[in-house]
C-alpha cells in the first residue's frame, strides 16, 4: 500500500524542540525566530545533553553571532515568502530592514559573508521552493501561484523557475508525477 503524505517541517521541528526541551525540565519559551529562551541557568552537562539530543535530528545550536544573525535573516525571508497575502506595496529590502531592525546594507553584507550567496538569490530560491510545493499540490494555477509569490506575471515565474532549475514548471510537474507512479521506495 502506498501512502502519499504531506508534512509541515516547521510544525515537525517545533514538536521535536518541545519534546527535547521538556526532557531538560527547565522553564523555557520558543520565541519562533529560531530562538529558545531558557529562564534559568543551564549546567554544562544539561547543555551538552541537549546539544547531543538535538544533533540526532540535525538541529544545531548556533554559536557565532554572525551565523546567529544569518539564521534570523533566513527565518525572516521564509516568513515573508510564505505569507498568505503577498506584500505588494513593500519592497523586500524594506520589509527585512524593518523586521530585523538593521539597515539592509548590513543585513545583506552579513548574509553574503556567511552563506557565499546574496539575499536576492536566497529569496528567489525560497519562492521557487514554494512554487514547487504549490505545483505539486496542484490546487492552484500557475497564474494564481505567480500572484501569490509576488511575481510580475506567469512568464516571470516561469522564467525564474527555468533559470533556477533548468526546467519549466510543466516539465517539473511531469517529472514529479512520473516519480510518484514508479516504485520509488526511498522517496516516499
Amino acid at each position: 500500500m502506498k501512502l502519499h503524505i504531506k508534512y509541515d517541517m516547521n510544525i515537525c521541528s517545533r514538536i521535536i524542540l518541545r519534546e527535547q526541551m521538556d526532557k531538560l525540565q527547565l522553564p523555557y519559551t520558543i520565541t519562533g525566530l529560531g530562538e529558545i529562551e531558557i529562564k534559568e541557568t543551564v549546567s554544562t552537562e544539561k547543555y551538552e545533553e541537549l546539544e547531543t539530543n538535538l544533533n540526532k535530528y540535525a538541529i544545531e545550536i548556533i554559536n557565532n553571532p554572525k551565523n546567529v544573525f544569518t539564521q534570523k535573516i533566513k527565518d525572516a525571508i521564509v516568513e515573508m515568502v510564505y505569507l498568505e497575502e503577498p506584500l505588494a506595496t513593500i519592497k523586500n529590502s524594506a520589509y527585512l530592514a524593518k523586521k530585523l531592525n538593521r539597515s539592509y546594507t548590513y543585513i545583506s553584507g552579513v548574509f553574503s559573508e556567511v552563506t557565499f550567496t546574496s539575499i536576492q538569490n536566497f529569496i528567489i530560491l525560497q519562492k521557487i521552493e514554494r512554487a514547487k510545493q504549490e505545483i505539486i499540490e496542484g490546487k492552484e494555477t500557475l497564474t494564481e501561484i505567480a500572484w501569490k509569490l509576488n511575481f510580475n506575471s506567469v512568464a516571470h515565474l516561469s522564467n525564474e523557475f527555468k533559470k533556477n532549475t533548468g526546467l519549466t514548471p510543466t516539465a517539473f510537474q511531469r517529472i514529479i508525477k512520473k516519480r510518484k507512479e514508479t516504485d520509488f521506495t526511498s522517496q516516499q
Binding site: 517541517m9 557565499f116 550567496t117 521552493e129 533556477n164 533548468g166 511531469r174 516519480r179 526511498s186 522517496q187
Partner: protein, 149 residues
C-alpha cells in the same frame, strides 16, 4: 554554515575528467572534501561501507565500465540509508528524454559535461552553492531538481 565542509564523491572512469573536476572544485568558495572512485562497482562498495561518513553530493558519470550510472542511480535510490544524498548526473549526453529519465529515476541534478574549464568551474560553483543551501536551510531535497546544459 561556513565551518562545515560539504562531502563530495565523484564516480568517473576517465583520469583526465577526474583531474579536471578536482581542479575546478578547488576554486569553489564553499569548503569541500572530495573523494573519487573509478567506476560503479567501487562507488557502491564505498557507499555500502558502514563506517564512513556518507557524502552529501555524488557526481555520477553515466558511462562507466563494470557498473554504469543508471544502475547505480537505481541502487542508491532504493536504499533507504542513502536517501539524503543528492545525486548529480555528470554526462556527455544532452538528450532531453535521457535527462528527464534520470530525474524520474531520482537524480537531483543533471550536468552536461562542458569542455571548457571556466564553464565547469561556474557550473560546479552553482551546483555546490545551491546544494549547500539545501543542506543548511532545511529545504525539501525531494523537490531539488536542477538541469544544467
Amino acid at each position: 554554515m561556513n565551518h562545515d565542509a560539504l562531502h563530495i564523491l565523484l564516480a568517473d572512469d576517465d583520469d583526465d575528467d577526474r583531474l579536471f573536476f578536482k581542479d575546478a572544485i578547488e576554486e569553489v568558495k564553499v569548503k569541500t572534501v572530495v573523494t573519487m572512485v573509478n567506476d560503479g562497482v567501487e562507488l557502491m562498495d564505498y557507499l555500502n561501507k558502514f563506517d564512513i561518513q556518507l557524502p552529501n553530493l555524488v557526481f555520477l558519470d553515466l558511462n562507466m565500465p563494470r557498473k554504469g550510472g543508471m544502475e547505480c542511480l537505481k541502487e542508491i535510490r532504493s536504499n533507504n540509508r542513502l536517501k539524503d544524498i543528492s545525486i548529480a548526473i555528470y554526462s556527455t549526453s544532452g538528450l532531453e528524454k535521457d535527462i528527464e529519465e534520470t530525474f524520474v529515476k531520482g537524480a537531483n541534478i543533471y550536468i552536461k559535461k562542458p569542455n571548457d574549464f571556466e564553464v565547469l568551474k561556474d557550473i560546479l560553483a552553482k551546483v555546490i552553492t545551491i546544494n549547500w543551501q539545501y543542506h543548511t536551510s532545511g529545504l525539501n531535497r525531494e523537490n531539488f531538481l536542477l538541469n544544467i546544459q
